[in-house]
């Protein structure tokens, strides 16, 4: 289900999300595009090299998790504008492992056309790795 206007939004609704691609090919391409390719020591591209540097494995960049969450919001609200997004990187999210996105409507200001959303990215063990909030503007 998608929403177009603020009146379409229901308080407490959990958005339908998607299964993000956390493969090494994807995390590596993302890291390269934001300038974190060279000198990252395999942090986003190579499990073995990442483990040698003390990490639990190659990682999904934190801002890539932010990207998963904003993409989920954009799919739900194809005309909405994300005015603000704040994500806390609580613990590492590993590449090549599935992750679950959760986006929930926590407040609606019908007069201003604003929606507040709670955000979470969990790993397969249901542990929260990234959490945050977003503010979305929709037409009134």
């Amino acid at each position: 289900m998608t929403v177009e206007r603020i009146s379409d939004v229901e308080f407490g609704v959990e958005l339908e999300t998607f299964s993000p691609d956390t493969s090494l090919a994807s995390t590596g391409a993302f890291a390269q595009a934001v300038g974190w390719g060279k000198g990252a020591g395999g942090r986003f591209t190579d499990h073995e090299r990442a483990r040698k540097s003390g990490l639990p494995g190659a990682l999904v960049p934190g801002i890539m998790a932010m990207g998963f969450l904003t993409s989920a919001i954009h799919r739900w609200a194809p005309t909405g504008v994300i005015e603000h997004v704040d994500t806390v990187f609580r613990a590492p999210l590993l590449a090549d492992e599935p992750c679950l996105l959760s986006v929930v409507v926590t407040d609606i200001d019908e007069d201003a056309g604003l929606v507040e959303l709670d955000l979470q990215v969990k790993n397969e063990a249901q542990e929260t790795r990234v959490f945050g909030t977003a503010r979305l503007r929709l037409s009134t």
Binding site: F18, P20, D21, S26, T27, A29, F30, Q32, A33, V34, G35, W36, G62, I63, M64, M66, G67, F68, T70, S71, A72, H74, R75, P78, V81, I82, E83, H84, V85, D86, T87, V88, F89, G132
Partner: protein, 151 residues
């Protein structure tokens, strides 16, 4: 342990870095695609309204992470999170300027000692001086007792 109030007095709101940027359209597209983005304004570079996703804006970095003479807190800084405020579309291929200041400093007591949080805020402007977006980078440092030398 360093006095957080003293650090705030000395360093808060002090602009410590300015960087000129021109964003590459291919990189915007790649970040949007790898994030699972489906909206055309983020994945179709031929459109007039093609622009950066919030995650790309969050990746824009200052040349320096902290002001010169900011004291060392001992531990290794970790990326604690990012926040982005979008005011106007951030488009590729045009000159932009990022100005960075220390927006907040605070501490939390953890089980293994004090954690110091530093929020570096980059404000992104176009050539006419219009403020397009703001990107906050939250650094977390587990403080080592006795470390108080300059960075």
């Amino acid at each position: 342990m360093l006095d957080i109030d003293e650090l705030k007095t000395k360093f808060l709101d002090l602009e410590f870095d300015t960087v000129d940027l021109v964003i590459d359209a291919d990189n915007l597209l790649m970040v949007a695609q790898m994030s699972g983005e489906t909206r055309p304004e983020f994945i179709d570079p031929s459109r007039d309204d093609f622009h950066a996703t919030p995650a790309f804006i969050a990746s824009l970095a200052a040349g320096r992470r902290l002001p010169i003479h900011f004291p060392s807190l001992g531990g290794i800084p970790m990326d604690g999170g990012k926040a982005v405020t979008c005011l106007q579309p951030v488009k590729p291929g045009v000159p932009l300027t990022g100005r960075t200041h220390l927006h907040d400093i605070y501490a939390k007591q953890g089980r293994s000692g004090r954690m110091v949080f530093l929020v570096a805020r980059m404000e992104i402007y176009d050539q006419s001086g219009t403020h397009l977006a703001t990107s906050d980078s939250r650094m977390v440092i587990r403080e080592k007792p006795g470390e108080d030398s300059d960075a």
